[in-house]
Symmetry: C2
Subunit: 440 residues, 2 copies
């Protein structure tokens, strides 16, 4: 299908904001995560402003324990995404509901059923952010001493998604007859088992639930390594990318389109949304001051953790925050792209740990007045390499309120943005309806 001619926006929400110290900001609500009414208010603000989707990240563990900094962050306290989004589905009416779930520590049958249930309950507004898990501690909550290797988890993910799609196709769209007189609830030949026997999973099926309203919930993906990108090209319908320069965005898109084509798909059926972490203030100077404030609210131990979590098992406890980063070796079992990227950055600019952490964790790539933020968005959009943005607000609710009230109207005025049409999430994003595969 043709790529969209207007900007699309999704929001990556965590009740206490996306910046690691965002909850400490004087105008942040530190109690947001467990307060369903706070989530509702936020979801409605975004929905009313024309955000296409709300996206909840997830990790099935606390975010690591090697450095004792966790109690200084909100990262050990968050609601399970599908449960949260099912609740929000009843207090919103149009916004897409995208939940993260890992293929490494779940069963395909459960996830197929939960996403299908949410899709029925929400009237076709569901998306699944497919991840393979990045935090080592997750393994230990599911009976494994260690995470699967990077290659193995993508292999498993591919089989997992194939099984889930097969399960979603258990029933034909028109299988449910509910014919009281004939006593036929569904058409006998409109349902089938999948009888999958693969390397990682054995699943008989069929799913015990009618086909989701969208056919399949929309698949989101954020693989960044070579393997992860290949996976995204094969399965992803909306690709989350990290924030990048406009040149890098163009190169990325060219490569992605080629990979999507090579995988036998139409590049027009894929959306790319880089991460955008805006701080909107009255002036650029004020926004910069907020960003600096947020940085100064990060405790030294948390700074260490932010870097360390992306490096593996190196012990950072005794590292001097203000010395250049030591020369670490390679590690093949971590999120390779991140580690490599950080190492290159630190080496190239001879950054100290503090500088690297602040650069990396500042998590506000676009700070300025509403006009400045809108300009930056317009500039990336003008490359033609992106379809929209995945917006993470550093602290809440203020930054979501300002972005929707001040930035979006500017983009609308310039003709770059308008609220997406009504319909399922798939329709709102301009993505094709997946026909049921295999025998009728």
């Amino acid at each position: 299908m043709p790529r969209p001619d207007h900007l699309q926006f999704g929001a990556l929400v965590h009740g206490s904001g996306g910046h690691i110290a965002g909850w400490r900001h004087p105008r942040a609500n530190p109690d947001g995560e467990l307060d369903i009414d706070f989530h509702v208010r936020l979801a409605r603000t975004l929905e009313d402003a024309g955000f296409a989707a709300l996206f909840v990240a997830d990790v099935v563990a606390i975010w690591g324990h090697q450095l004792d900094s966790l109690h200084r962050t909100t990262r050990a306290d968050y609601l399970e995404p599908i449960t949260l989004l099912a609740a929000l589905s009843q207090r919103t009416s149009r916004i897409g509901l995208v939940a993260t779930a890992t293929t490494s520590y779940n069963e395909p049958y459960h996830l197929a059923r939960k996403f299908a249930s949410l899709d029925h309950i929400s009237g076709g507004r569901t998306g699944w952010n497919v991840v393979t898990s990045v935090v080592p501690l997750e393994a230990q909550n599911f009976g494994r001493a260690e995470h699967f290797s990077h290659e193995e988890r993508y292999e498993r993910a591919a089989e997992f998604v194939d099984v889930v799609k097969g399960l979603w196709d258990s029933y034909a769209e028109d299988a449910l007859l509910r014919d009281k007189a004939a006593g036929r609830y569904f058409r006998r030949d409109g349902r089938r088992a999948i009888d999958h026997h693969g390397k990682h999973f054995d699943v008989a099926g069929p799913l015990n639930l009618a086909r989701p309203p969208q056919g399949h919930p929309v698949l989101f993906q954020a693989g960044a390594s070579a393997t992860g990108r290949a996976f995204a090209a094969r399965y992803g319908e909306v690709i989350f990318t990290s924030p990048v320069s406009t040149e890098a965005a163009v190169t990325y898109r060219r490569q992605l389109d080629a990979a999507v084509t090579a995988a036998g798909r139409d590049p027009g059926d894929v959306r790319v949304w880089p991460l955008l972490t805006p701080i909107v203030a009255d002036t650029d100077a004020e926004a910069a001051a907020i960003l600096a404030d947020l940085g100064s609210l990060i405790h030294d131990d948390v700074l260490r953790r932010l870097v360390q979590d992306n490096f593996g098992d190196e012990d950072f406890s005794d590292l001097d925050l203000d010395e250049p980063l030591p020369d670490f070796g390679e590690d093949t079992n971590r999120s390779q792209s991140r580690r490599a990227g950080l190492l290159a950055l630190a080496r190239g600019e001879r950054l100290t740990l503090r500088q690297l952490a602040l650069r990396f964790s500042a998590r506000a790539d676009t700070a300025g007045s509403a006009a400045t933020v809108a300009d930056r968005i317009a500039e990336v959009w003008a490359t033609g390499a992106v379809d929209g943005f995945n917006v993470s607000f550093p602290y809440l609710p203020e930054q979501a309120d300002r972005f929707t009230a001040e930035v979006l109207p500017i983009l609308a005025e310039r003709g770059l943005f308008r609220p997406p049409p009504d319909g399922t999430l798939r329709q709102r994003l301009g993505l094709p309806y997946p026909t049921r595969q295999g025998p009728r």
Copy 2:
């Protein structure tokens, strides 16, 4: 805590009603299961009438495939309970939300997180119906050729529940400080890992979520075998039982109380709710006619299935429905109590398969005028052996509407029923708050 001095009611709901042919009744809504607004309407009717809880049964498979009768029932199409109840939590305000989840095909970390999330989102209204799975096909959706043995699944269930409780206790009640100035989100010593290494599970913890408002969601259980009852005595807070004679109910309660005491618990901390499947009509004769109608709406293949599903692998396809049941041997890996009960019933009364199926599947143990149904409830209540009832309405919405509008007012007038007090589900049922175990 003292046992309640008024009747408690929970409702076992499936969108198309509890009777296998209920969806075919002329006044039934056959489209209820996938219609969230239908669920909401039902939940509100029950909530307004003073039902303490709404209970959603579950099986993670279609209900068997040996006889090709499934397409004549609604049993291959139902929403995942936690997802459904999370949605309902936002459109109800007091009623308890009890989801079934199996310990045989889940991971403790996921269930602990989901139930804790639902408890936070619903303001402490969550319950978990702990089951070990009864439908053989479930195994094949989760990589196993066969179900765990009966003993093994209860052993696994015990370890599972212990782990889940430990995870719910990850944080102390007062651990979340959210102290912006000091930069402490939670009290460092207010959180702990569980580091569980057992026969069936290895789970490090801690849970990445604050302690649920109820401390622990309320544990519901329906084990009926000797092992199942022992499990219920050790863990159950509300016990679902099958409908029984008043004498059997008294004996059961005496034995349960003794078993609960032997397990070191106070029998006052356990509620017993037998299943009640009422049909309310203007007169007893009319109710009997509805029941007969429902029976006649069950197709012969479905009658076969209803019995066969409880017997194991015997092939019923060629059995004459109107001959006495043949003499089957024993089978140790099925839900023993059900199989044994049915066999005894069939042998004792020389029932044909049709008679047995109708007796067993009629699923309306109490048909009559509102006064008749109220009398029967009062009679069982008078034994002192039950605390309330788990009500399954044969078809919807009519039977829920009539029960709440006609039967409950009679019971209220007689001083036997009043809506439970406001509060968490635990408080409404008069159950004690579980203090956090182990080190602070």
